[in-house]
């Protein structure tokens, strides 16, 4: 089946099977490997991408479902070599260790800040609960999201 969708701001086309998962389409056909396979059943959030701006699990989404829609991956976040404030804050606050959860975590955080530009720490912790991290205990991640929010508020 032929699908067309917007990927990181660019119109793209792909030939997919009905059982092709969005995660595998992104990783194998478009070589966008920022979204990770972590569990395959929607528990870990490592495969998170934005679909029409909302975080979803690409491991539980059929590729055909994104026909006509807009997908943003971590690779589409930094513009013109300039890091997104969230990416910068994650670096500065030590919110990245092994980094495997980082792309999904940042994309979820981006959706949070778009929805709620000034979240409390509790709101951040609640919103990020679908993104597992085994390294950081989340403390520096929460700090980084808070810091990015402050920076984006200017």
């Amino acid at each position: 089946m032929r699908i067309r969708f917007k990927l990181n701001g660019r119109e793209v086309e792909a030939e997919v099977e009905p059982n092709t998962l969005l995660l595998n389409l992104l990783r194998e056909q478009f070589h966008l490997t920022g979204a990770k396979y972590g569990c395959g059943i929607g528990e870990c959030g490592a495969c998170t991408v934005l679909l029409d701006g909302e975080p979803i699990l690409s491991c539980l989404t059929l590729a055909v479902e994104v026909d006509g829609r807009e997908v943003t991956t971590i690779e589409g976040l930094a513009g013109d070599g300039e890091l997104h404030p969230l990416q910068r804050a994650f670096l500065e606050e030590g919110a990245v260790q092994c980094g495997f959860c980082t792309p999904g975590m940042i994309l979820t955080a981006k959706a949070l800040l778009e929805e709620n530009p000034n979240p409390s720490e509790d709101e951040i912790r609640e919103y990020l609960k679908g993104n597992l991290c085994r390294c950081t205990g989340y403390v520096n991640i929460v700090k980084a999201v808070k810091k990015a929010a402050e920076e984006m508020a200017g």
Partner: protein, 306 residues
């Protein structure tokens, strides 16, 4: 050789994909393919089951593009929620938050943001998990299920919709089109409670309460319990017991005992033994009734966070 069939990297078998534009078209596909077809709404349960090879449908009917199946409508008989309405839509709906707060309270605890962006209300109900978080509040609300099939449309009480774990009253050529929830009685207080092992977990036990007082006396109370029987259930005995009584500590205790007496152990319960579910259903009953009463009285509800 079960272990060798699992592969959560991919969906390890082929199927045909259908994306009908109308309910009629969907029903036509269902009646054509019957048990070989599965309905894809959010996919958060269906695709997991497919990866785990619990089911291997030959036809997938994606109902997300059917406009009639999504959205929330306010009508005279209650609030109509399209089966393919996403949990996030319910979460963000002022109408749901104001008119059906017990459903709203349940929805915001469900899964993660990602799951709620994908999962639908109909999917949660049709998956028929004994502890489905959307089921208990809707049962307490006396909600009905509007079902469409090749023989037309029928409406049944949600209490009759759940038949067993993973089993619903839907026939192979039928689908859930809509959930209709009557409005809450005026001045009712509600509460939804659940226990899981983490903040992102399916409920081990969940419970929804709708309470209406006449003065200090219970005029009406509805209690729905999840995770304690093969399906989510209404605990009518506790409701009858409470009617006409003041909510004294003794009455709360007795109501809680009745609720916990409805725990029907299942052979496959691995997460928690019956005695734990009994104890927790007891505690949640008292909590939920207490909170519902506080809400009627307009009191702040918090759990003593420092």
């Amino acid at each position: 050789m079960y272990i060798n069939k699992l592969n959560t990297h991919i969906i390890p078998f082929k199927f045909e994909y259908h994306a009908p534009k109308s309910v009629e078209e969907a029903v036509e596909l269902l009646s054509r393919y019957g048990e070989e077809a599965s309905i894809l709404a959010g996919g958060t349960d269906l695709l997991v089951k497919m990866k785990q090879r619990v089911i291997e449908p030959k036809h997938i009917i994606d109902i997300k593009r059917i406009k009639d199946l999504t959205g929330i409508r306010e009508e005279e008989d209650g609030i109509h929620i399209g089966a393919a309405t996403k949990l996030r839509t319910l979460e963000r709906s002022k109408l749901i938050e104001e008119k059906l707060p017990v459903l709203h309270e349940a929805v915001i605890t469900m899964g993660s943001v990602q799951i709620r962006n994908m999962a639908t209300i109909g999917g949660n109900l049709c998956n028929a998990s004994p502890s489905a978080d959307a089921a208990t509040p809707l049962l307490a609300l006396n909600a009905e299920a509007k079902i469409v099939g090749s023989e037309g449309e029928r409406i049944i009480p949600l209490e009759e919709f759940f038949i067993g774990p993973g089993k619903t009253a839907l026939k192979p050529d039928e689908m859930l089109a809509e959930v209709i929830s009557p409005y809450l009685p005026e001045n009712a207080g509600t509460s939804f409670m659940k226990i899981g092992w983490t903040d992102f977990d399916i409920a081990t036990v969940n419970l929804a309460v709708i309470l209406k007082l006449e003065g200090e006396v219970v005029d009406e109370c509805r209690i729905a319990l999840g995770g304690c029987a093969p399906t989510p259930i209404r605990v009518h005995k506790a409701e009858e017991f409470l009617r006409g009584k003041k909510l004294t500590d003794e009455v709360l205790e007795e109501a809680a005992n009745i609720v916990s007496g409805h725990v029907r152990p299942r052979a496959r319960w691995r997460r928690a033994p019956p005695e734990y579910r009994r104890a927790v259903s007891r505690a949640l009953t008292i909590d939920a009734l207490t909170i519902a009463r506080k809400r009627i009285e307009g009191l702040e509800v918090n759990r003593g966070e420092d």
